[in-house]
């Protein structure tokens, strides 16, 4: 019932340097629960070196706020990966 009304959707495709980094980003993001699952859904997956974020929401506003928070977290992950990855 609930998911049928989540008709505002968006898919983000975020390229990382390596497949491993994309997978790390997915695992970092996955654990956090969504505050209002009836209004907002998100799934994380990877395609090659890309992180794929699929979002569905009840309206544009909720979608915007939710996506903005996710992007904030992804920025931290990207910066961490860039600056703090182990030197080969």
């Amino acid at each position: 019932m609930a998911s049928s009304s989540l008709d505002h959707t968006l898919t983000l495709d975020i390229p990382f340097e390596t497949e491993a980094q994309a997978s790390i980003a997915m695992r970092v993001l996955q654990p956090d629960p969504i505050l209002r699952p009836q209004d907002f859904e998100v799934t994380y997956s990877t395609r090659g070196a890309s992180l794929v974020v699929s979002v569905a929401s009840v309206d544009d506003r909720v979608l915007r706020v939710g996506v903005s928070n996710i992007i904030d977290s992804i920025k931290t992950i990207v910066e961490t990966a860039d600056e703090l990855s182990l030197q080969q």
């Binding site: 790390i24 654990p31 904030d72 931290t76 961490t80 990966a81 703090l84 182990l86």
Partner: protein, 386 residues
């Protein structure tokens, strides 16, 4: 029997290295500690005496303009902006070249605190853990303060007064938990001082409480006091009424409300009371209440030591009053940690987290790393003490 050496250090080292990340309020802190794996830690109750060496302790505080408090969203943004830079700086200062080999555990604050700032730091902690393949430990912020305080002061079993922006608790250890004997029934002491500082429109740097303390020191009329209610309820206390009342006084003083006879002379209309007097009376009253509930807990559990932790613990007047109480009470000793460790920092998270890690208690699945705003001190199972 407590064995703190169950998990061996990585890379065949004879010492542990832990990094701690703290960001539950407006302070972002990262610290790296080193701790030898000495034989005496394998048995007995030595968690207060781990020979910790602090390799780095970096902090960055989000300071708001006078009259403003810090909001979760803005604080989280501050932490995100600084987090990686601070971690990098802490690693460099600690001369960590290869975190995969040189670090045993990444410790981060899981709560209590403001959700958004906690989360922003947890994201960085998880990423580091996966990048470096180093285990994670989620730490209770209050337990971090307690363990750091015990290590710094070598206080074995103190009654802990935890006083900060969000917490006012009297805690004592019993049967593997830090149990709360008394606490505020409404606002926290630090919050109370912060809010009064906002009414006074005094600067938030270095901290509102520090500036109130300086004003109180400059009070010219220490022989008299503005009468405030004294609201100790058993081992608990209430502060919201006192705050509301003194806030009204301050506002009347600024507005020049001559009808307030307590503030203005009936004949001349001259003010009888200064901002310094208000700060002095507020501190004297609130701190007397804090010391009293601490003494009550000491009497209840037969303790002779007190440890003050949390940001308000760096107030010298509070330390002085606590010291006097302990002195009069069977020559007990007060152990105020020094300011570097009273104020939120990463080292304390590393210290508590490392103890937990050495008992084999670390994150097995990232779902255990979800942060929580509400996380009571007595929820943590303290495996590292008898």
């Amino acid at each position: 029997m407590v064995n703190l050496n169950t998990v061996p250090p990585r890379n065949n080292r004879d010492y542990y290295i832990a990094i701690g990340l703290e960001g539950s309020a407006n302070k972002l802190g990262v610290g790296v500690i080193k701790c030898s794996r000495s034989a005496h830690m394998a048995s007995g109750d030595n968690s207060h005496n781990c020979d910790v060496e602090i390799l780095s302790n970096i902090r960055n505080t989000y300071v708001t303009p006078p009259g403003e408090g810090f909001l979760p969203r803005d604080t989280a943004r501050h932490h995100r902006n600084w987090c990686v830079r601070i971690i990098k700086q802490a690693l460099e200062e600690a001369e960590i070249k290869n975190p995969h080999l040189d670090i045993d555990v990444i410790c981060f604050t899981r709560g209590p605190g403001m959700g958004a700032p906690l989360h922003s730091v947890a994201i960085a902690a998880r990423t580091c853990s996966l990048l470096w393949d180093v285990p994670l430990v989620g730490v209770n912020h209050c337990v971090g303060h307690i363990e750091m305080g015990r290590e710094i002061t070598k206080a074995e079993n103190p009654v802990v007064l935890y006083v900060s922006g969000g917490n006012t608790q009297v805690i004592a250890y019993s049967e593997n938990r830090y149990r709360i004997f008394g606490e505020t029934l409404d606002v926290a002491i630090g919050n109370c001082l912060d809010r009064f500082a906002r009414t006074l429109k005094i600067p938030n740097a270095p901290s509102p409480g520090y500036n109130i303390e300086q004003l109180a020191k400059n009070c010219k009329n220490k022989d008299s006091l503005i009468e405030l209610s004294y609201t100790v309820k058993g081992m608990d206390l209430s502060m919201s009424g006192i705050l509301a009342y003194i806030d009204t006084l301050a506002k009347d003083l600024f507005r020049g409300n001559k009808k307030n006879r307590l503030l203005f002379d009936k004949e001349t209309g001259e003010p009888k009371v200064t901002v310094e007097d208000l700060c002095y009376s507020l501190q004297e009253n609130l701190f007397a209440m804090l010391v009293e509930i601490t003494e009550r807990a000491m009497a209840h559990v037969n303790a002779t030591q007190v440890l003050i932790v949390g940001g308000v613990g760096s107030n010298t007047r509070l330390q002085e009053m606590m010291g006097q109480m302990c002195k009069d009470r069977a020559n007990g000793k007060v152990h105020a940690t020094d300011e570097r460790f009273c104020i939120d920092n990463g080292v304390m998270i590393a210290q508590a987290g490392l103890l937990q890690y050495r008992m084999g208690d670390y994150v097995k699945d990232l779902s255990e790393t979800v942060v929580t705003q509400k996380f009571r001190t007595d929820e943590v199972y303290v495996s590292w003490r008898e």
